[in-house]
Amino acid sequence: MEMMSGAAMVVRTLKDIGVKHVFGYPGGAVLDIYDALYAQQDVEHVLVRHEQAAAHMADGYARSTGQTGTVLVTSGPGATNTITGIATAFMDSIPMVVLSGQVPSMHIGEDAFQETDMVGCSRPIVKHSFLVKRAVDIPEAIAKAYYIANTGRPGPVVVDLPKDIVNVSEEHPYQFPEDVTMRSYNPTLKGHNKQIKKAVKTLLESKRPILYVGGGAISAEASDLVTEIAEKLNAPVTSTLMGLGAFSSVHEQFVGMLGMHGRLEANKAMHNADCILALGARFDDRVTNNVDKFCPHANIIHVDIDPASISKIVGAHVPVVGSVDEVAKQLLKEMGKIDAKAQHAKVADWWEQINQWRSRKCLEYKKGDGLIKPQEVIESLYKHTNGDAYVSSDVGQHQMFAALYYPFAKPRRWINSGGLGTMGFGLPAAMGVQMAHPEAVSTVVTGDGSIQMNIQELATCMQYNLPIKIISLNNRALGMVRQWQDMIYKGRHSHSYMDSMPDFVKLAEAYGHIGIRVTKPEELDEAMAKCFAAKDRLVFMDIEIDQNEHVYPMQIKFGAMDDMRLSKTERT
């Protein structure tokens, strides 16, 4: 057996698992591991400027590829700085492994320098965690971490590594565990046959069916299968914020995103459906609005890999535990051949009704008055990227505008913090995307508030030549907060206004990048063209937009799914 130090084992295990990139930041407890990284070329380390960003980068990397993202940080502050990033990945079920340094075993519990109980701190926001006690256990712990992170319902896993076990001066036998199995962990992938039969029967009896697709369809790589089911049933499809792209947004059966800022036709169709096929979605409160008024006519078929998600918020009539791809295959097989003509006839009235809702054109907005509208920026972005960019987003109004006005035709193109809503996620996520796809166009849609939460990463972009395109919708405000204050607090803008805005163009230039300011609608198109022409450079687009624009449609609190405001003055 090969002999090596614990630190060398960490790096070697990563290599044997097939990890190509590690996002991290060094410090005392992990110096041995950093030394082991120095001596090799298999695993590329990306040095961030803040550990939170390392976690978001690993996250963006994972969301855009489906592969587990890897983070390496030191103990204490290094570890706690990743907490927001771990929580972000946890809420959206993103596979991630965080390797954190720890003080030497014999000092654990002594309040040693840079000691934090990382396993304890992260416990509520990880899928699982390990505190490794012996160097020989390192390969198995890390291999298990990757296995757990990216099977079943994916999620982040922490591996805490005390400094004494990674000590470079002691060698131990290295053995890579070829096969990881755990008697206490066996996720169910295939749906129960009886439930599949029941689901298909319910679907075929339905006259007003709808597919409600969530992030689970993306993690299961089930886009084609979901499309096949939708087309077979000729059913409308709606998507959660997390599911965008799982079913093509340019498909004629797509009725748009649903929920708080969903499209009118999506929420209407959900509310009036007689059968909802939920595929990897979890009936989040940002979707359901008032649960007591939620979709009163629908038989709900809930497909999810996590049994705990089923009937957690809304009771399912037909619960199906399994991964979306496996269950979709089973559903298709059980459906067999469906007479397309008869099926079309069955849902003809339903489509007529839906098209009527569509004709309200809820996404229309007013241009003019000399100000750039956020919606037109997103439309311009769509045009200049041929609808084929990776779009990472921060959190706020700009996020909703991006979700609504950039139709995603493919999965894994829309990268956003849906569950936790983490401002500061966008830029590092886009960097992770760019690391994973060096040739692709990686953009961030952000706001003047969010971008400042991880702005230091502009330096990392310089170091690794990441030609990200930052589309900053500058409304000189925490716009989403301001919108709520307009609506609920009579326009009392308590601390949502930032009157010390930096000069973002100069800031970008200070970091060595290109900055472009746009203030007039007629300049937008040309500026956007200039931005995307600078192929190998990072461009920061500081776009001054109308400060008073609100995101609509918007659900009305305590109402049903389809109780919505359609503009500042109109409602359903």
């Binding site: 416990r123 509520p124 008697r183 962990y185 705990a308 009937s311």
Partner: protein, 165 residues
Amino acid sequence: MRRIISVLMENAPGSLSRIVGVFSQRGFNVDSLCVAPTDDKSLSRLTIVTVADDKVIEQITKQVNKLIDVLKVSDLSDGHHVERELMLVKVATRSELVRAEVKRNVDIFRAQIVDVDANNYTIQVTGTSDKLDAFAHALSQSTEIIEASRTGVCGLARGEKALRP
């Protein structure tokens, strides 16, 4: 409704804190919790008593089951089962009259006096939680309870049913 949840899990560091975490994190209450390794030392068995409606119980069992270290979860109160709890209780016995009254209660409840001191008895009693409550109440009628310690409920399903890996 009062429910008894049995959990079989890896006897690994951190497992217990994860279970307790699920309860505090999701706002489930715990009436009692009893945990020890099983005949197979690599496994621990945990019994949790909680009061919750069916929907919450479903969530509790699912969320606990979801923990990576957990092998099996079952709701004992779903079927026939045996449940026991043990209590040690120390009572003041300052007069002959009190000693006699305490001794009478000990006989009625089939408890045992396990330690005797000049001014107190330590008594052990096992049974259902109700029986323990009743015993404590009876003692308190005739004397002062100095301190008491209860193990929390542990239980097994009756018949063939078993929680095995």
